[in-house]
Symmetry: C2
């Protein structure tokens, strides 16, 4: 077995709440204890990171946190330099703005550089809107694909939707997307226009929050649904052909 | 907004530990409180469910749990009949053997029938080996696909690996598989034979357990790695072309 150098610090990927919740509602005591122990963190957004840390580790003075920015202006060399603390034997945390670092959020590059330098990586248990949406959809979790955002360009968007429906039908693969919340209704409209009446669509909003709302129906039924409530709420969209579900089980 | 009937019970999807851990190590106090309140559960495996319940809700006598089997012998009508308790206003839980119900595990069909009957579905936060592996790999979480198991047939297996590498290269999509633990070494050998030297492979074993082991390297380096330790440990395999990572960020 390839052993890593135990004198090195590790890289800890810390999930954060998906909305305005206390961290103790969505994280295990184990993860909270870890956060209280760390002092160095790479963060997507300093303001939301400080708010999270204040709630998760109220006994640690804010001045003790050393935060390193990770956003679209952070270049490769800066990201790599953050890992220096690990080579000094200090553990480093990673926080994205909401949910799991590296999943539909920044963080993956930093993890890649950690592997290059033989730094151990510790992904931690916590909220992920994608995973919760997939569980809650009733669609196959035996085979699925997350496409990120659909293209804005109308023709490419239409082609993306059509291609995904075809894959759902032929391969029984659940298709997933995320959308900028103010565009949710436009996306639902696109799905209603492009997909067959019997294709199933799940919309999962406000996951893990008190206002959580998850519904799966055929496109035929979605066309008759007043979906104004969807606007501006963080949502995951999932599409399934439906028919292959039972066959697709592997116990 | 489409409201569901609040006199109905809900369907709660409860993640379970990925190994021989106490539920309190991997679940939030919120989820544990919920488990202690439920009495009706649909379970993949009665023995492991009883062990979980004993640890998660030690004050509830075992005789109080009403367990409904969900395995390959359970037909559609039986699954649907389990939801009767929800129509009586009673909450129903779902437990798979390890990890999240419905994700590379049974449970999705039951959720689908719940949606058909307007029963609210509550996916809960907890351990998922797929999600932890993706976070820990350093590969793109902006676009990814989970294929389940590769085919056993040699030609189909080779074609599946080749096709996945092509998609990783052209679409920048992370490719993921699960394998039966005693076949891990054979799968690694197949990847080493079929993939290009520079393609990146991550193997993530024993996720969330004290023996967790996650490493990402090029196929060239995997060929030089003694991987005997992999055998019989639950693992997720991930493949990425690597190059597209930075471009692929969407902050």
């Amino acid at each position: 077995m390839t052993e890593r150098d135990s004198s090195m610090g590790g890289l800890y990927l810390i999930p954060t709440p998906l909305g305005d919740q206390d961290p103790s509602e969505v994280l295990t005591p184990h993860v909270l204890t870890l956060v209280q122990r760390l002092r160095h963190l790479v963060v997507e957004n300093e303001k939301s990171a400080r708010k999270f840390l204040k709630a998760a580790a109220p006994l640690v003075p804010q001045s003790e946190w050393i935060l390193y920015p990770m956003d679209k202006y952070t270049d490769t060399e800066a990201l790599k330099s953050y890992l220096e603390v690990c080579t000094k034997g200090i553990d480093l945390g990673v926080l994205s703005e909401a949910g799991c670092p590296g999943i539909a959020d920044p963080g993956a590059d930093l993890v890649g550089y950690a592997h290059q330098r033989q730094i151990s990586v510790y992904p931690l248990i916590g909220p992920s809107s994608l995973l919760l949406a997939l569980m809650g959809s009733g669609f196959s979790g035996q085979r699925f694909v997350f496409h990120g955002y659909l293209p804005i360009d109308k023709a490419a968007r239409k082609a993306g939707i059509k291609q995904a429906e075809k894959t759902a039908q032929t391969a029984g693969e659940t298709q997933m997307w995320i959308e900028t919340p103010y565009r949710n209704l436009a996306l639902l409209q696109d799905f209603c226009q492009q997909l067959q009446e019997t294709t199933l669509l799940c919309i999962a909003c406000d996951l893990s929050l008190p206002t959580q709302w998850i519904q799966t129906k055929s496109i035929g039924l979605w066309k008759k649904t007043d979906a104004a409530f969807l606007q501006k709420r963080p949502a995951i969209f999932l599409v399934s052909a439906g028919q292959l579900k039972r066959k697709d089980f592997s116990f």
